[in-house]
């Protein structure tokens, strides 16, 4: 069951999402749980019905940054676990998207789409300023996609591979 630590304007909160039937989700925000009927209504829009309210949320992402706007409140959302991972040179992200922590060159691709991987397995090695960084699997799962080739130049925040968690 996905659980996220989200930081907005310096405050971090834990949000747990449990999928139910028909687009319904049990969302637990700190110690409060509500049922939300939610659907994506466009690339940048999520319509939510909960607490007898209809909320039209706008969402977007750009590399490591995610954005949410609700009722005129526009926020940048960061993910503490992810920044911790990036700081450790891992570049692994909580949702299985493997991003590069720095611009550089891909020196090795260790996996192919469909491969099973265990948490911590090296997926891609990126070199910059003569230092190699291993980009590792954030959790057990399958490689959903590989978006780079050996020798390719990469920029900060590029998604080089995606890992899908093993279904529990």
């Amino acid at each position: 069951m996905p659980e996220f630590e989200l930081s907005i304007r310096g405050v971090t909160r834990r949000v747990r999402v449990e999928a139910g039937e028909g687009g319904r989700y049990q969302v637990t925000l700190d110690d409060r749980t509500c049922e939300v009927e939610a659907r994506r209504t466009g690339m940048h829009a999520i319509s939510m019905l909960f607490d007898e309210r209809s909320v039209d949320a706008r969402v977007a992402r750009d590399g490591d940054r995610r954005f949410v706007a609700v009722d005129g409140h526009t926020c940048t959302v960061t993910l503490p676990e992810r920044s911790a991972g990036a700081a450790a040179g891992g570049g692994a992200v909580g949702d299985g998207r493997i991003t590069t922590p720095m611009p550089g060159k891909v020196v090795a691709v260790k996996v192919a789409a469909g491969d099973s991987v265990a948490e911590g397995d090296t997926l891609v090695i990126v070199e910059a300023m003569k230092m190699e960084h291993d980009l590792r699997a954030p959790f057990d799962g399958k490689v959903a996609a590989v978006h780079c080739q050996e020798g390719a130049a990469v920029q900060f925040g590029d998604v080089v591979a995606e890992v899908a968690p093993t279904e529990g």
Binding site: P2, F4, L6, I8, R9, G10, V11, R13, V15, R16, V17, A19, G20, E21, G23, Y25, V27, L29, R32, C34, V36, A38, R39, R40, G42, M43, H44, I46, M48, F50, A57, R58, V59, A60, R61, D62, R65, R66, F67, V68, A69, V70, D71, G72, H73, T74, C75, G94, D95, G96, A144, H147, V154, Q155, F156, G157, D158, V159, A164, P165
Partner: protein
């Protein structure tokens, strides 16, 4: 007849002009700098010519390159927009020499109005009220005192050589006059080597009110009422409205007449704006004339129904004004909010970056003059204006409510904007009551912040979490069966990283 117009500008005003041309059946040429290759004006124009790299001095301000672009594309007119070369008399002259019509007033008129002292002299000769002040520089303390009492306190004593606030003093009481005069003289001497000072009326908590004019080449001119532009940050306007909360129909007529007196005196043609300071008792004083289309022109268009940019082009074409002054009574109320890429919580510093996503709501009485698109790279090279939201409603109260509703729906992701700040300005009791003076932001909004995360609705957090679930396939079978839209990858996800022009 003008057949093809080159727009020597960028961003929202270029879009505005290109659309006006398109509506009039005039072919268009955009010029652009290298990083603006993907911008809306380039895409909207019939032809586009690169005039240089990012720095404005090497692109949008390069007269030769722009004239070359006009020649090579066969443009017979150039619209300069605002900023850049719009008030550059030399550029207007060079256009004339090249046989290309400059959409604006005559170069000599631009030159006169561009020089502050000359503009004031012309205004005085036209009988336009000026801030009362000494006719020339005064060096004697006694004479300063005499002059100040003649003008009436409070007065501003300032160095005749100078600038930057040095040697400048506000005097409110007679007993402080001599001391202040001595101090101002000493400071002026120390800073500029010249002790002479000017004395002028100090306008306390003024309003900035300007009159829009239109004049043709046949001696006809009309004014389109006023715009109240007092809400400013860093001496730049950020929110404008019309009518002004303090301008009565009678005062509008007096200000309009004064503006038209100046227009006739200098032989002004095209669209222009006469700026006034308005003090608490409703006296108004000439500040300067802007010889171009203004950023905030749409609010005048909203309440008068006149298309100012089209009229600029028609006047450049030699057409006669068909507008009659008696038909130009403002109808309803209009407000403009400028959306800049800047951070209102951090001194309004520019916030360059990539606009990840933008949404501009529509509806009755809503207009966006915008160059925004999802993917726009805001570079630090230019004024960071992204768009202008203009609303028009039956009265001021309804216009404020409409603007707040529009701002609440407007979304710009990726760069900071003053959207929330403007939303709060519009709710401030002093704004609502019409107490809008040029110090409004310093007085009421100085320590503004967007508010802490604890004030955010829970829906923000829930949406942030659901965004990840609905996108990522982490939600299990329920989301997977929930329609294809949830699975759509974003173009940005599949395209990989790219930058427009780099950083």
């Amino acid at each position: 007849m003008i057949r093809k117009v080159l727009v020597a500008n960028r961003g929202e005003i270029a879009v505005r002009i290109l659309r006006a041309c398109r509506e009039m059946g005039i072919a268009t040429v955009a010029v652009y700098s290298e990083p603006d290759r993907d911008s809306l004006p380039v895409r909207l124009a019939d032809e586009a010519v690169c005039v240089g790299p990012a720095p404005a001095l090497e692109s949008y301000l390069r007269i030769d390159a722009i004239l070359d672009a006009a020649r090579s594309t066969g443009a017979d007119a150039i619209h300069p927009g605002y900023g850049f070369l719009s008030e550059n008399a030399e550029f207007a002259e060079r256009c004339a020499e090249a046989g290309i019509r400059f959409v604006g007033p005559k170069p000599e008129v631009m030159r006169s109005m561009g020089l502050k002292v000359e503009a004031r002299d012309i205004a005085r000769a036209a009988g336009v009220p000026l801030v009362p002040g000494s006719a020339g520089a005064i060096a004697e303390a006694d004479a300063i005192r005499e002059e100040a009492l003649r003008i009436g306190l409070p007065v501003l004593i300032k160095a005749s050589a100078g600038g930057g606030g040095k040697g400048m003093r506000v005097v409110r009481e007679e007993k402080d006059l001599v001391g202040a005069a001595e101090a101002a003289r000493r400071e002026a001497q120390a800073a500029f080597g010249n002790p002479a000072v000017f004395v002028e009326k100090f306008v306390e908590r003024p309003r900035h009110v300007e009159i829009q004019v239109l004049a043709d080449e046949h001696g006809n001119a009309v004014h389109l009422g006023e715009r109240e532009c007092s809400i400013q940050r860093r001496h730049q306007k950020i929110l404008e409205e019309t009518p002004s909360p303090v301008v009565s129909p009678e005062m509008r007529e007096r200000m309009g007449t004064a503006a038209l007196d100046l227009v006739h005196k200098v032989g002004y043609t095209s669209a222009g704006t006469v700026e006034f300071l308005v003090d608490a008792d409703g006296s108004f004083y000439f500040l300067e004339m802007n010889t171009r289309i203004q950023v905030e022109h749409p609010i005048s268009e909203a309440v008068t129904g006149v298309d100012l940019v089209q009229w600029q082009l028609r006047i450049a074409n030699g057409e006669k004004l068909t507008l009659r002054q008696e038909d130009l009574t403002p109808r309803g109320h209009a407000i403009e909010c400028r959306i800049y890429a800047e951070d209102p919580a951090n001194g309004f510093l520019p916030s360059p970056g990539r606009v990840v996503h933008a949404f501009e709501p529509n509806g009755p009485g809503i207009r966006h003059d915008s160059a925004l698109w999802s993917g726009l790279q805001v570079t630090p090279d230019y004024d960071p204006i992204l768009s202008k939201i203009v609303v028009h409603a039956e009265d001021r109260e309804r216009a404020i409510a409409k603007m707040r509703a529009v701002l609440a729906e407007t979304v710009v992701f990726g760069v900071e904007t003053p959207i929330r700040f403007l939303f709060d300005v519009l709710a401030h009791p002093s704004f609502v009551s019409g107490d809008t003076t040029t110090d409004f932001i310093d007085r009421h909004m100085k320590d503004w912040t967007p508010g802490g995360a604890d004030e955010l609705p829970d829906a923000v957090w829930i949406a942030a979490a659901l965004d990840r679930v609905l996108r990522g396939g982490e939600s299990g079978s329920a989301a997977a069966g929930e329609g294809a839209s949830g699975e759509l990858p974003e173009p940005w996800e599949t395209i990989g990283r790219f930058e427009i022009g780099g950083r």
